[in-house]
Amino acid sequence: MKPRQKRLMYILVGVAGLAIAVGLVLFALKNNVSLYFTPTQVMNKEAPQGRSFRIGGLVEVGSVQRQADGLTVHFNITDMVKTMPVVYKGILPDLFKEGKGVVAQGKMEADGLMHAEEVLAKHDENYMPPEAADAIKRAQEASAATEAVDAIKPAAKTK
Protein backbone atom coordinates (compact mmCIF):
# COMPACT_ATOMS: atom_id res chain seq x y z
CA MET A 1 0.00 0.00 0.00
CA LYS A 2 1.22 3.46 -0.85
CA PRO A 3 1.62 5.88 2.07
CA ARG A 4 -1.28 8.01 0.89
CA GLN A 5 -3.60 5.01 0.66
CA LYS A 6 -2.52 4.11 4.17
CA ARG A 7 -3.38 7.61 5.40
CA LEU A 8 -6.77 7.42 3.67
CA MET A 9 -7.44 4.10 5.39
CA TYR A 10 -6.46 5.49 8.81
CA ILE A 11 -8.78 8.45 8.36
CA LEU A 12 -11.74 6.39 7.10
CA VAL A 13 -11.39 3.80 9.87
CA GLY A 14 -10.82 6.52 12.46
CA VAL A 15 -13.89 8.53 11.48
CA ALA A 16 -16.07 5.40 11.29
CA GLY A 17 -14.91 4.29 14.74
CA LEU A 18 -15.45 7.73 16.17
CA ALA A 19 -18.93 7.98 14.65
CA ILE A 20 -19.89 4.65 16.22
CA ALA A 21 -18.49 5.70 19.61
CA VAL A 22 -20.31 9.05 19.55
CA GLY A 23 -23.48 7.30 18.39
CA LEU A 24 -23.34 4.84 21.29
CA VAL A 25 -22.70 7.61 23.83
CA LEU A 26 -25.61 9.68 22.54
CA PHE A 27 -27.87 6.65 22.47
CA ALA A 28 -26.98 5.90 26.09
CA LEU A 29 -27.65 9.51 27.06
CA LYS A 30 -30.89 9.68 25.08
CA ASN A 31 -32.96 10.90 28.04
CA ASN A 32 -30.37 13.52 28.99
CA VAL A 33 -30.06 14.89 25.49
CA SER A 34 -33.80 15.27 25.03
CA LEU A 35 -35.03 18.65 26.19
CA TYR A 36 -38.25 17.41 27.77
CA PHE A 37 -40.23 14.40 28.91
CA THR A 38 -43.61 13.52 27.45
CA PRO A 39 -46.63 13.19 29.78
CA THR A 40 -46.52 9.41 29.20
CA GLN A 41 -42.91 9.29 30.39
CA VAL A 42 -43.79 11.35 33.47
CA MET A 43 -46.70 9.06 34.31
CA ASN A 44 -44.37 6.07 33.95
CA LYS A 45 -42.06 7.74 36.49
CA GLU A 46 -39.23 8.12 33.97
CA ALA A 47 -38.90 11.81 34.83
CA PRO A 48 -36.76 12.82 37.85
CA GLN A 49 -38.65 12.80 41.13
CA GLY A 50 -38.51 15.71 43.54
CA ARG A 51 -36.57 18.06 41.30
CA SER A 52 -37.16 20.32 38.36
CA PHE A 53 -37.58 18.89 34.85
CA ARG A 54 -39.20 19.85 31.55
CA ILE A 55 -42.38 18.42 30.13
CA GLY A 56 -43.51 18.91 26.55
CA GLY A 57 -46.59 18.23 24.47
CA LEU A 58 -49.69 20.02 23.28
CA VAL A 59 -51.88 22.34 25.34
CA GLU A 60 -55.08 20.36 25.71
CA VAL A 61 -57.97 22.04 23.92
CA GLY A 62 -60.41 23.59 26.40
CA SER A 63 -58.11 23.15 29.40
CA VAL A 64 -56.72 26.70 29.79
CA GLN A 65 -58.18 28.49 32.82
CA ARG A 66 -57.03 31.89 34.02
CA GLN A 67 -57.38 32.82 37.66
CA ALA A 68 -58.85 36.11 38.86
CA ASP A 69 -55.37 37.58 39.51
CA GLY A 70 -54.79 37.53 35.73
CA LEU A 71 -51.37 35.90 36.05
CA THR A 72 -51.98 32.38 37.27
CA VAL A 73 -52.92 29.92 34.55
CA HIS A 74 -54.03 26.31 34.79
CA PHE A 75 -53.75 24.10 31.73
CA ASN A 76 -53.13 20.49 30.74
CA ILE A 77 -50.24 19.23 28.65
CA THR A 78 -51.12 16.18 26.60
CA ASP A 79 -49.37 13.81 24.20
CA MET A 80 -52.75 12.35 23.17
CA VAL A 81 -52.10 9.35 25.42
CA LYS A 82 -51.57 10.83 28.89
CA THR A 83 -52.37 14.29 30.25
CA MET A 84 -50.49 16.36 32.86
CA PRO A 85 -52.10 19.26 34.77
CA VAL A 86 -49.84 22.32 35.01
CA VAL A 87 -50.10 25.56 36.95
CA TYR A 88 -48.01 28.58 35.98
CA LYS A 89 -47.80 32.10 37.34
CA GLY A 90 -46.33 34.56 34.88
CA ILE A 91 -46.50 35.90 31.37
CA LEU A 92 -47.07 33.31 28.66
CA PRO A 93 -45.37 33.55 25.24
CA ASP A 94 -47.52 34.95 22.43
CA LEU A 95 -47.64 31.62 20.62
CA PHE A 96 -49.07 29.82 23.66
CA LYS A 97 -52.41 28.47 22.41
CA GLU A 98 -54.75 25.59 22.96
CA GLY A 99 -53.89 22.69 20.68
CA LYS A 100 -50.35 24.02 20.06
CA GLY A 101 -46.96 22.81 21.27
CA VAL A 102 -45.61 23.82 24.67
CA VAL A 103 -42.62 23.02 26.88
CA ALA A 104 -42.89 23.74 30.62
CA GLN A 105 -40.16 23.52 33.24
CA GLY A 106 -41.07 22.91 36.85
CA LYS A 107 -41.51 20.46 39.70
CA MET A 108 -44.23 17.97 40.57
CA GLU A 109 -45.75 18.96 43.90
CA ALA A 110 -47.74 16.92 46.39
CA ASP A 111 -51.00 18.31 44.99
CA GLY A 112 -50.38 16.34 41.77
CA LEU A 113 -49.87 19.50 39.75
CA MET A 114 -46.76 20.48 37.90
CA HIS A 115 -45.74 23.90 39.20
CA ALA A 116 -44.02 25.51 36.21
CA GLU A 117 -41.34 28.18 36.55
CA GLU A 118 -41.00 28.67 32.82
CA VAL A 119 -43.35 28.03 29.90
CA LEU A 120 -42.04 28.05 26.32
CA ALA A 121 -44.09 27.83 23.15
CA LYS A 122 -43.08 25.29 20.53
CA HIS A 123 -44.14 25.99 16.95
CA ASP A 124 -44.10 23.62 14.00
CA GLU A 125 -42.12 23.68 10.76
CA ASN A 126 -45.07 24.70 8.55
CA TYR A 127 -45.23 28.23 7.21
CA MET A 128 -48.28 29.47 5.32
CA PRO A 129 -50.35 32.63 4.83
CA PRO A 130 -53.44 33.08 7.07
CA GLU A 131 -55.82 32.29 4.16
CA ALA A 132 -54.22 28.88 3.71
CA ALA A 133 -54.35 28.25 7.45
CA ASP A 134 -58.07 29.17 7.46
CA ALA A 135 -58.75 26.83 4.54
CA ILE A 136 -57.08 23.98 6.39
CA LYS A 137 -59.07 24.78 9.53
CA ARG A 138 -62.37 24.76 7.62
CA ALA A 139 -61.51 21.48 5.96
CA GLN A 140 -60.69 20.02 9.37
CA GLU A 141 -63.96 21.19 10.89
CA ALA A 142 -65.81 19.63 7.97
CA SER A 143 -64.62 16.22 8.99
CA ALA A 144 -64.21 15.27 12.63
CA ALA A 145 -62.28 12.17 11.71
CA THR A 146 -59.52 14.07 9.89
CA GLU A 147 -59.34 16.48 12.80
CA ALA A 148 -58.50 13.70 15.20
CA VAL A 149 -55.76 12.45 12.88
CA ASP A 150 -54.28 15.94 12.39
CA ALA A 151 -54.27 16.67 16.09
CA ILE A 152 -52.10 13.61 16.72
CA LYS A 153 -49.70 14.38 13.86
CA PRO A 154 -47.63 17.14 15.52
CA ALA A 155 -47.18 15.03 18.61
CA ALA A 156 -46.00 12.08 16.53
CA LYS A 157 -43.56 14.27 14.60
CA THR A 158 -41.75 15.59 17.65
CA LYS A 159 -40.79 12.08 18.72
Partner: protein, 244 residues
Amino acid sequence: MAINWFKYSAPSTFYGLAGKLVPFFAIPAAVLFAIGMYIGFFVAPVDAVQGEAYRIIFIHVPASILSMFLYLIMAGYAALGLIFNTRLSSMMATALAPTGALFAFISLWTGALWGKPMWGAWWVWDARLTSELILLFLYFGFIALHASIDDPRRADRAAALLAIVGSVNVPIIYFSVKWWNTLHQGSTIKFTGTSMHIAMQQAMFVTLLACWMYAVAVALVRVRSIILDRERTTQWVSELKEIA
Protein backbone atom coordinates in the same frame (compact mmCIF):
# COMPACT_ATOMS: atom_id res chain seq x y z
CA MET B 1 -4.40 16.84 -26.44
CA ALA B 2 -4.71 15.52 -22.95
CA ILE B 3 -6.12 17.89 -20.36
CA ASN B 4 -3.91 18.36 -17.36
CA TRP B 5 -6.42 18.03 -14.53
CA PHE B 6 -3.88 18.87 -11.90
CA LYS B 7 -2.73 22.11 -13.47
CA TYR B 8 -4.78 24.21 -11.05
CA SER B 9 -3.85 22.19 -7.99
CA ALA B 10 -0.58 24.15 -7.89
CA PRO B 11 -0.88 27.37 -5.85
CA SER B 12 1.02 29.37 -8.51
CA THR B 13 -1.51 28.60 -11.27
CA PHE B 14 -4.58 28.66 -9.01
CA TYR B 15 -3.68 32.13 -7.76
CA GLY B 16 -4.46 33.70 -11.14
CA LEU B 17 -7.52 31.54 -11.79
CA ALA B 18 -9.00 32.39 -8.37
CA GLY B 19 -8.53 36.09 -9.07
CA LYS B 20 -10.40 35.79 -12.37
CA LEU B 21 -13.23 33.76 -10.78
CA VAL B 22 -13.99 36.13 -7.90
CA PRO B 23 -16.30 38.55 -9.81
CA PHE B 24 -18.32 35.63 -11.22
CA PHE B 25 -19.33 34.78 -7.67
CA ALA B 26 -19.26 38.17 -5.96
CA ILE B 27 -21.63 39.93 -8.40
CA PRO B 28 -24.29 37.18 -8.46
CA ALA B 29 -24.06 37.06 -4.65
CA ALA B 30 -24.99 40.75 -4.35
CA VAL B 31 -27.72 40.55 -7.01
CA LEU B 32 -29.27 37.36 -5.64
CA PHE B 33 -29.19 38.68 -2.10
CA ALA B 34 -31.08 41.81 -3.18
CA ILE B 35 -33.66 39.70 -5.06
CA GLY B 36 -34.02 37.28 -2.15
CA MET B 37 -34.54 40.10 0.35
CA TYR B 38 -37.07 41.74 -1.96
CA ILE B 39 -39.11 38.53 -2.31
CA GLY B 40 -38.72 37.85 1.39
CA PHE B 41 -39.95 41.22 2.55
CA PHE B 42 -42.43 42.26 -0.15
CA VAL B 43 -43.67 39.19 -2.02
CA ALA B 44 -43.79 36.42 0.59
CA PRO B 45 -47.04 36.51 2.57
CA VAL B 46 -47.26 36.94 6.31
CA ASP B 47 -47.24 33.70 8.33
CA ALA B 48 -50.49 32.51 9.90
CA VAL B 49 -48.92 31.68 13.27
CA GLN B 50 -45.85 33.90 13.62
CA GLY B 51 -46.88 37.04 11.76
CA GLU B 52 -44.08 39.17 10.30
CA ALA B 53 -41.39 37.91 12.66
CA TYR B 54 -40.97 34.63 10.75
CA ARG B 55 -39.18 36.56 7.97
CA ILE B 56 -35.90 36.15 9.86
CA ILE B 57 -36.03 32.60 8.45
CA PHE B 58 -34.74 33.96 5.12
CA ILE B 59 -31.36 34.62 6.70
CA HIS B 60 -31.45 32.09 9.57
CA VAL B 61 -31.95 28.97 7.46
CA PRO B 62 -29.41 29.79 4.67
CA ALA B 63 -26.82 30.69 7.33
CA SER B 64 -27.43 27.43 9.19
CA ILE B 65 -27.27 25.31 6.04
CA LEU B 66 -24.05 27.02 4.94
CA SER B 67 -22.44 26.69 8.36
CA MET B 68 -22.90 22.91 8.14
CA PHE B 69 -22.02 22.50 4.45
CA LEU B 70 -18.93 24.70 4.69
CA TYR B 71 -17.72 22.61 7.60
CA LEU B 72 -17.98 19.41 5.54
CA ILE B 73 -16.22 21.06 2.59
CA MET B 74 -13.53 22.42 4.92
CA ALA B 75 -13.02 18.99 6.49
CA GLY B 76 -12.97 17.47 2.99
CA TYR B 77 -10.23 19.83 1.83
CA ALA B 78 -8.32 19.30 5.06
CA ALA B 79 -8.52 15.51 4.56
CA LEU B 80 -7.32 15.84 0.96
CA GLY B 81 -4.38 17.89 2.19
CA LEU B 82 -3.60 15.29 4.82
CA ILE B 83 -3.89 12.28 2.50
CA PHE B 84 -2.30 13.59 -0.68
CA ASN B 85 -0.01 16.21 0.86
CA THR B 86 -1.41 18.85 -1.48
CA ARG B 87 -0.68 22.33 -0.19
CA LEU B 88 -3.56 24.03 -1.97
CA SER B 89 -6.21 21.80 -0.36
CA SER B 90 -4.98 22.76 3.09
CA MET B 91 -4.96 26.42 2.10
CA MET B 92 -8.57 26.11 0.90
CA ALA B 93 -9.57 24.56 4.23
CA THR B 94 -7.94 27.47 6.08
CA ALA B 95 -9.64 29.95 3.74
CA LEU B 96 -13.11 28.48 4.38
CA ALA B 97 -12.94 28.40 8.19
CA PRO B 98 -13.67 32.08 8.97
CA THR B 99 -16.65 32.15 6.58
CA GLY B 100 -18.05 28.99 8.14
CA ALA B 101 -17.61 30.44 11.60
CA LEU B 102 -19.36 33.61 10.48
CA PHE B 103 -22.37 31.66 9.21
CA ALA B 104 -22.53 29.55 12.37
CA PHE B 105 -22.51 32.76 14.40
CA ILE B 106 -25.24 34.35 12.25
CA SER B 107 -27.30 31.20 12.60
CA LEU B 108 -27.07 31.27 16.41
CA TRP B 109 -27.58 35.02 16.63
CA THR B 110 -30.64 35.20 14.38
CA GLY B 111 -31.93 32.07 16.11
CA ALA B 112 -31.75 33.83 19.48
CA LEU B 113 -33.49 36.91 18.07
CA TRP B 114 -36.20 34.64 16.67
CA GLY B 115 -36.49 32.46 19.75
CA LYS B 116 -37.26 35.27 22.20
CA PRO B 117 -40.53 36.47 20.60
CA MET B 118 -41.70 33.02 19.45
CA TRP B 119 -40.62 30.50 22.08
CA GLY B 120 -40.20 32.96 24.93
CA ALA B 121 -36.47 32.30 25.43
CA TRP B 122 -33.27 33.55 23.83
CA TRP B 123 -31.58 30.24 24.37
CA VAL B 124 -32.41 26.72 25.50
CA TRP B 125 -29.98 23.84 25.82
CA ASP B 126 -31.79 21.65 23.35
CA ALA B 127 -29.91 19.28 21.06
CA ARG B 128 -30.18 21.44 17.91
CA LEU B 129 -28.97 24.66 19.52
CA THR B 130 -26.22 23.01 21.53
CA SER B 131 -24.79 21.05 18.59
CA GLU B 132 -24.77 24.20 16.45
CA LEU B 133 -22.88 26.00 19.23
CA ILE B 134 -20.36 23.13 19.24
CA LEU B 135 -19.98 23.65 15.48
CA LEU B 136 -19.06 27.30 16.09
CA PHE B 137 -16.50 26.19 18.70
CA LEU B 138 -15.09 23.64 16.24
CA TYR B 139 -14.53 26.43 13.72
CA PHE B 140 -12.85 28.53 16.43
CA GLY B 141 -10.76 25.53 17.44
CA PHE B 142 -9.66 24.92 13.85
CA ILE B 143 -8.66 28.56 13.34
CA ALA B 144 -6.92 28.80 16.72
CA LEU B 145 -5.04 25.51 16.36
CA HIS B 146 -3.86 26.46 12.88
CA ALA B 147 -2.70 29.86 14.09
CA SER B 148 -0.88 28.46 17.10
CA ILE B 149 1.62 26.36 15.13
CA ASP B 150 4.36 28.28 13.35
CA ASP B 151 5.25 25.77 10.65
CA PRO B 152 2.33 25.99 8.16
CA ARG B 153 2.59 22.37 7.01
CA ARG B 154 2.50 21.08 10.58
CA ALA B 155 -0.35 23.47 11.34
CA ASP B 156 -2.23 22.08 8.31
CA ARG B 157 -1.89 18.52 9.56
CA ALA B 158 -2.90 19.23 13.15
CA ALA B 159 -5.89 21.38 12.15
CA ALA B 160 -6.94 18.83 9.51
CA LEU B 161 -7.22 16.16 12.17
CA LEU B 162 -9.42 18.43 14.29
CA ALA B 163 -11.61 19.24 11.28
CA ILE B 164 -12.04 15.56 10.36
CA VAL B 165 -12.91 14.53 13.92
CA GLY B 166 -15.37 17.42 14.22
CA SER B 167 -17.22 16.42 11.06
CA VAL B 168 -19.05 13.79 13.15
CA ASN B 169 -20.98 16.72 14.65
CA VAL B 170 -22.61 17.77 11.37
CA PRO B 171 -25.06 14.86 11.00
CA ILE B 172 -25.84 15.26 14.70
CA ILE B 173 -26.94 18.85 14.08
CA TYR B 174 -29.03 17.85 11.09
CA PHE B 175 -30.81 14.91 12.70
CA SER B 176 -31.01 16.34 16.24
CA VAL B 177 -34.61 17.46 15.79
CA LYS B 178 -35.53 13.95 14.67
CA TRP B 179 -33.64 11.90 17.23
CA TRP B 180 -34.49 13.82 20.38
CA ASN B 181 -37.25 15.95 21.85
CA THR B 182 -36.18 19.50 21.09
CA LEU B 183 -37.80 22.91 21.35
CA HIS B 184 -36.52 23.63 17.85
CA GLN B 185 -39.05 22.59 15.22
CA GLY B 186 -38.35 19.90 12.62
CA SER B 187 -36.84 20.57 9.20
CA THR B 188 -38.95 22.64 6.82
CA ILE B 189 -36.90 21.56 3.82
CA LYS B 190 -36.90 17.80 3.66
CA PHE B 191 -35.79 15.39 0.97
CA THR B 192 -39.46 14.60 0.43
CA GLY B 193 -40.55 18.21 -0.05
CA THR B 194 -41.08 21.53 1.68
CA SER B 195 -43.81 22.53 4.11
CA MET B 196 -43.82 26.17 3.12
CA HIS B 197 -45.68 28.63 0.93
CA ILE B 198 -44.16 28.89 -2.58
CA ALA B 199 -43.07 32.57 -2.35
CA MET B 200 -41.43 31.85 1.01
CA GLN B 201 -39.57 28.95 -0.59
CA GLN B 202 -38.37 31.15 -3.44
CA ALA B 203 -37.09 33.82 -1.06
CA MET B 204 -35.26 31.21 0.98
CA PHE B 205 -33.67 29.43 -1.99
CA VAL B 206 -32.54 32.70 -3.57
CA THR B 207 -30.89 33.90 -0.35
CA LEU B 208 -29.37 30.44 0.08
CA LEU B 209 -27.86 30.69 -3.39
CA ALA B 210 -26.64 34.21 -2.60
CA CYS B 211 -24.95 32.94 0.56
CA TRP B 212 -23.27 30.15 -1.43
CA MET B 213 -21.95 32.64 -3.99
CA TYR B 214 -20.74 34.92 -1.20
CA ALA B 215 -18.98 32.04 0.55
CA VAL B 216 -17.17 30.99 -2.65
CA ALA B 217 -16.16 34.56 -3.53
CA VAL B 218 -14.83 35.29 -0.07
CA ALA B 219 -12.99 31.95 0.13
CA LEU B 220 -11.30 32.65 -3.22
CA VAL B 221 -10.17 36.11 -2.13
CA ARG B 222 -8.92 34.71 1.15
CA VAL B 223 -7.08 31.78 -0.44
CA ARG B 224 -5.24 34.25 -2.70
CA SER B 225 -3.93 36.08 0.35
CA ILE B 226 -2.95 32.79 1.97
CA ILE B 227 -1.12 31.67 -1.19
CA LEU B 228 0.81 34.95 -1.35
CA ASP B 229 1.67 34.74 2.32
CA ARG B 230 2.92 31.17 2.18
CA GLU B 231 4.73 31.46 -1.16
CA ARG B 232 6.22 34.87 -0.49
CA THR B 233 9.81 33.60 -0.85
CA THR B 234 9.21 32.01 -4.26
CA GLN B 235 10.29 33.28 -7.66
CA TRP B 236 6.78 33.46 -9.14
CA VAL B 237 5.42 35.67 -6.39
CA SER B 238 8.25 38.17 -6.74
CA GLU B 239 7.49 38.33 -10.49
CA LEU B 240 3.81 39.21 -9.95
CA LYS B 241 2.72 42.61 -11.28
CA GLU B 242 0.83 43.50 -8.12
CA ILE B 243 3.83 42.71 -5.92
CA ALA B 244 6.52 44.52 -7.91
